[in-house]
Structures are given as structure tokens and as C-alpha cells.
């Protein structure tokens, strides 16, 4: 940049002006060329009938190269401005794309949902707060609020509780890695995949037939009658929550286990010398030390429980009193085409998640990076 700036010191006013115009022209020309190249690539990918292999190759070069080029061009343009301006613009080159994408894909849709939530099913007539009245008075909605509360308390409590217990026990075992790997494994399974697996655990056949469900096979082995687990209110909610615990315990365990390694052994030693029991050490030394980790893990799982959908959708589809907020939203939106109610429920869910998320982020920043 310094090299370029020297040009302005020589020559008359006219040449200076010409130079300035030239520089602006070049600064405009380069982004335009970049845009044309990107556009040409896009059109090629959209309309081309070339063999798949070539299209794939172009897509990679266009995708990866396009991002690199955009960054390079933006950086180049910024660097051509005076230093003090460049310094202020520089951060936007890095953060800008993320902000644009977040605005376009997250912020604007949320605002649109908020807007639609005040309109009727076809988004034609303004209905005021009617959709929110529905969200807080409909019997199925009230049922789903209650169920979501159950998910939060039992799901989060179970996953964090078991995670902590296993982390503590594994910490004291020689086979720590093996245990932790086993517990962590379900994390690799999607919620829908877990739903399909657990359908077989809870499967029901009438008494006298071969039970293909694991749970009913055990129950009948001990001579009891097989149970249709999904129809047993309110326990069926617990049967579903067990799946979340199975999936999320591994996550809680890994994070808590890492925090455990950070508890200084000198303090624990000191506690032991003072004659504290192992339980006392856990309660008075380890837990306070990893408290912020526990909070972070809990809030993360609370958010997952709040927006739980996949498990309910694959297992009971909300029947037998297992409806949750997200499944109600899906039904209103995509089965009943009531965009107003669907949006209102989505907004309620967002509002419920925000405080937890805010608290979670605060914890993250307190710990300075994650």
C-alpha cells in the first residue's frame, strides 16, 4: 500500500485527479470481474448439460475457489483504501459474510415468523393475538407444555446425572477409555436413527405371540403380560425420555470428564489428608470446581429437550398424550397448513429457548473459550 501511495506525491492536480479516478475504476473493475466470474459459474452449473464428472469438478472449483476469490477481492479492495479506513473495514471482511448469512437465513426468517404469527391460516387476515391465545389455551398445547417440562427435568437430570456418575467412576477405573467409548457411542446415532432402534425395544405383540421387542421379551420371560408401552400414560413420556438420556449421557460425560481432569490433585490430596470421605470430596471439592461445566452441559441439554421433536415424531407421533411443542408446531405448519398457529408456536419456542441460551453463552464466555 505504501508503494501505491507514493504515486500521489508527484505530478500536477490533473494527473492526481486522473490517478484517483483510475484507482476508483480499478477498485470497481476487479469486484465486477469477480462477480461476472461467479455468475458465469452459477449459470454454467444451473444450465449445463455437461457430464456429471465435469459439473462436479466445476462445482468444487467454483465453490471453494469462489469463496477464496471473494475474500481475496474484498481484502484487496479494503487494502486500497487509506490505512485508517482499512483498519476499520478489515474486521467486516472476516465477520461480514457470517453476518450476512445469519441475517438472511436466521434473523429474517425469525422476523417473518413473528409477522406471520399475527395472521390467519393463509396469512391473509390480521388476527391479533388469536394464535397466541390458541398456543396457551388449546388442550393439546397445554399437554405439550407439561410434557416439555417433563423432558427438561427428567431428560436433562438423567443425562447430566448419569454423565457425572460415569465420569466420576471412569476416572477411578483402569478401563476408563473403554467405558467412556462405549457410553459415548450413541452420540454418533441420529435422533431418528435412535427412534427406529428403540421402536424395536418397545415393540408390542399380543400375549401368546413371539415378542420381538426386547423389553416385552424380558417381561414375558419373568411371566408377566406384555405391555403396550406407548399407550401407558403418563409413563410413555418417560419411555421416550430414556432415549434422550441414552443419546446425551455420552456428551455430558465427555465434557464433565474433561473438567474433572482439571481439578487440581493437590486440593483433593489435602482433603484426603484432612480425613474427608470420598463422598465429601466429591461434594465439597469436585462439584464446586466443575460447577460451571455442569451448568453449561445442563443448559445445552435443556435446549435440546425444549426443541425435542425427532424422537416423538418417529415413536408415537404425539399420540397417547406425548405431544411436545415442536411436534405441535410441525403439525400446524405442515399438516394443517395453519401458518399463523405454526409460526406462533415457533415464536413461543424461541422465546422459551432464549433465556437458556443467553445464560449458556454467558457461561461460555466466562470460561473464556470452549
Amino acid at each position: 500500500m505504501a508503494v501505491l501511495d507514493t504515486g500521489t506525491q508527484k505530478g500536477g492536480v490533473l494527473s492526481q485527479a486522473l490517478l484517483a479516478i483510475g484507482r476508483i475504476a480499478v477498485s470497481l473493475f476487479v469486484p465486477i470481474v469477480a462477480f461476472v466470474i461467479l455468475w458465469a459459474g452459477f449459470m454454467f452449473l444451473r444450465d449445463s448439460n455437461a457430464p456429471q464428472g465435469i459439473i462436479a469438478l466445476v462445482a468444487i472449483i467454483w465453490g471453494v475457489g469462489g469463496v477464496a476469490m471473494l475474500f481475496w477481492v474484498a481484502d484487496w479492495v479494503v487494502n486500497r483504501t487509506p490505512l485508517h479506513v482499512a483498519k476499520k473495514l478489515q474486521p467486516f471482511v472476516f465477520v461480514g459474510p457470517a453476518l450476512v448469512i445469519l441475517t438472511w437465513y436466521l434473523f429474517l426468517p425469525t422476523m417473518r415468523s413473528l409477522y406471520l404469527s399475527f395472521f390467519d391460516a393463509q396469512s391473509k387476515n390480521f388476527v391479533g393475538l388469536a394464535n397466541y391465545v390458541f398456543a396457551f389455551t388449546d388442550t393439546k398445547m397445554l399437554e405439550s407444555f407439561l410434557n416439555n417440562l417433563m423432558w427438561i427435568v427428567l431428560g436433562t437430570g438423567g443425562a447430566v446425572g448419569f454423565g457425572l456418575l460415569i465420569a466420576l467412576l471412569a476416572d477411578r477405573s483402569k478401563l476408563e477409555k473403554v467405558f467412556k467409548s462405549l457410553i459415548f457411542m450413541p452420540m454418533a446415532i441420529s435422533f431418528v436413527g435412535a427412534g427406529v432402534i428403540w421402536r424395536f425395544v418397545y415393540a408390542y405383540k399380543p400375549a401368546g405371540e413371539d415378542q420381538i421387542g426386547l423389553l416385552n421379551a424380558l417381561v414375558t420371560l419373568f411371566g408377566a403380560d406384555p405391555q403396550a408401552w406407548f399407550t401407558l400414560r403418563p409413563w410413555n413420556n418417560v419411555f421416550l425420555i430414556v432415549i434422550l438420556i441414552w443419546l446425551q449421557t455420552g456428551y455430558a460425560m465427555v465434557i464433565i470428564s474433561a473438567a474433572l481432569k482439571g481439578v487440581p490433585s493437590s486440593i483433593i490430596e489435602a482433603g484426603r489428608i484432612d480425613g474427608a470421605s470420598e463422598l465429601r470430596i466429591i461434594r465439597s471439592i469436585i462439584i464446586p470446581f466443575i460447577a460451571s461445566t455442569l451448568v453449561t452441559v445442563s443448559t445445552t441439554i435443556i435446549i435440546i429437550s425444549l426443541k425435542i421433536f425427532d424422537i416423538v415424531f418417529t415413536m408415537t407421533n404425539g399420540n397417547f398424550g406425548t405431544e411436545v411443542i415442536a411436534s405441535m408446531q410441525y403439525k400446524q405448519m405442515f399438516r394443517f397448513y395453519h401458518y399463523g398457529r405454526g409460526s406462533a408456536i415457533a415464536i413461543v419456542l424461541v422465546i422459551a429457548v432464549i433465556p437458556v441460551m443467553w445464560y449458556n453463552l454467558r457461561q461460555f464466555s466466562k470460561r473464556e473459550g470452549f
Binding site: Q52, Y204, A228, T231, F320
Partner: protein
Amino acid sequence: MKKVMLVLLIALLIMPSVFAAGQKDTAATGTKTVTVFGAFVDEEQRRFEEAIKPFEERTGIDVVYEGSKDFETLISVRVEGGNPPDIAGLPQPGLMMNFASQGKLVPMWDSLEATIDKNYAPVWKDLGSYNGTPFGVFHRVNAKSFVWYPKKAWARAGYEVPTTWGELVALMDKMVANGHTPWAVGIESGGATGWVGTDWIEDIMLRTAGPDVYDKWVANEIPFNAPEVKEAFEILGDIWLNPKYVYGGTNTILTTSFGDAQRPMFDNPPKAWMHRQGNFITGFFPDTVQANLEEEVGVFPLPAINPEFGIPVLGGGDQFVVFNDRPEVRQFMEFLATWESGESWAKAGGALFPYLNQDLNAYPNEIERSLAEALVNAKVFRFDASDLMPAQVGAGSFWTGIVDWVNGKPLDTMLGDVQRSWPK
């Protein structure tokens, strides 16, 4: 390790573009193309594609069918996104009315309407119309009011086909006295759990209250908790909620998938002796049964309850509607309105067609032939009510109402809840 990661990364990057590229192949050939989007997939898709081959060979027009199990969601997304298929096969008349009211559909042109008038009973044109304007062409349809039974076991036990509701109840009691369980019922169907129950209710409504009351019920001109509706539920409850009458009792009703529900009929000895379901259920029968369908299975229409209304037929079907008006699209629609478009599918089995001039001999067995005959000759035909009601009810509270009621919710409370959910 780094190399492996790089290869994986590249593979991930390539995959979407390969899929995206794959969709474009059809545009490459340069021939005229008609895109059709529908709800049926797999084997049914194959049979549909087979059935439209004569058209493709004759005209040189390439008809590209795409099916999806999430059709109802996707079609709305595509239409709203300004990217509708040329033609869509809509399973629910409500969906057609929705699009028609938004002005998204191309109304039927004169020559097509003339073909429809000639080839179909008037009921099908009415079902494809919105505000008096016809839009939809029905192709494959189904009829639901049938009771299936294991023929050989019935012969051994000496059971005879009942022709009145009284005979049916007497037969059920006779079965119970013999230590047999009359019915096999299952209503589990993923996101659509409950529809089997709504079909039963509709069939009973048509037989006790008649088609006029049925139409009022569909339009909510009588409330959902009207005495006529309650009576239908009570008649169903006499069967379903009596553990002696249904194999496995209410738990089995609630947790058995509709396709598997018929299986106990084909155990030896049968664990259940009758199964009420539409013509498509034959595709779910065990392979050994399907191989000898005529010898293994018998079928009779669900008997009349009130003789005044006779034996109405309840059914449904996909109607094809036009989004993009082009000459080749029109040509294909006119083809769909003729028996020629259904013949090879009828031969392959598993589908009924509404064409008045169809050749009943095309159906592969006596059973499907008799069903097609019953469908074409039915004095009263009514479309599946739950498909006609607003989605909030027809695909919502009616389904869940059935589930809750079978699971122990009091009848009056349930009926009141369904009525309250009706959109105003």
C-alpha cells in the same frame, strides 16, 4: 491421516453437486418432457410408469414421474416456491381445492371435459371440481368397504358370508362361541395413525345415516358430536372395545401397523377371522397367500345396516391436476382420462380404475374383478370423509380422536374436542 481427511472433504463437497447434476439428465435429450409429481413410490411407481409407456411410445413425449412419501408437504413447498411440476397427483380433494382457490391450477379445457363426461360417472367429475369448475382427472382409485377372510379356514369352520348386519353380528357371536376371535384390526400408520378408524366410522355412517347426512357431516352442517355420528362410534365401539371381538384387544389395535394387521388371519389356525380394508390390502398379504389369492382369500362388502341405504361404497383416489399449460401436458392429461392409461396397471394388479368403458377382464383375478365391478356399479359412492374435511380435522383431530377414544377417552368428550377443533 491428513490425506484421508482431504479425500473425505472432497467427497463431501462432490456429493451434493453430483446429486444436483443427476436431476438435470432428463433435460438433456431435447424431446418434449412432462413432469409428474405424485404420492406413490416403489412398486406402484413402477406400475404407473409401465402404464404410461404406450403414450410415450406413441407421441415421443417423455413423461418423468417423481414420487415422494412426503408428497403433501413437498407439493405445497414447490407450488409456493414457484416451481410446481407440470402435473401433480393429489390424494386429497382438499389439496386440490386449496390450489384451485389460489388460482394455481389450469382448469379443464373443453375436449378433456368431454372425455371425462364420456368415460367417468358424474361423481368423479364433481370430486375434481372446485366452485363448479372441473380441474382434476382421476386415474387409479381405491374402494374400501370390503371384508376379507381366509377362505379355506372358513370352509372348514362352516362359516358363511353374512349379507345383513344382523347376520354379521350373529356370525361374530358364533365365532366367539367357537373360541375364535372375529376381527383383526390395526390402526398404526406413523404420522397418519388413526385413518383406519376413520374409514370404519365413514362406512358405518353411510350405512346408518345415509349419504345425505354423510355429506352434511363432511361439511360440518351437522356438528361432529351429532347423535348420528355418536351412533356410528357406538356401533364401532361395540366391536372394537370388546376384547372378545378383536384379536389382542385395544392395545393391538393401537400398536399394530395397518399393513401387518391382517397377518393373524393367515396363521394356522387363524388367530382372527375377518379384516375390513380397502382393495390395496392384498399387496400386504403373505407371499404364499398372494400367490393363490383366489383360493386363499374371500371377500364380501361390509353389509348394509339400514336397508334403506343399501351397500354404499367408500373410496378414494389420486386426481391429476395441471399447473403448467403446454400442448404436451394437455395431451398427457387426455391420455390419463382414458382406460388405455390404466389397462397395464390393472393387469399387474393392486389398482382399480373408475372408467365406465373399462374391460373388467383385464384384472388378474376374480377378486379384483368383483371389486372393480362393485366400484363401477355402486349406486352410492362417497369419497373418504377424512380426506374431504379440513386438514385440522381430517388429518388431525379425527385421527387423534380415534386413537384417544380407543385408548380410553370418553366418547362424548372426544367428539366435543373434534367439533371444537373444526376451523371456523
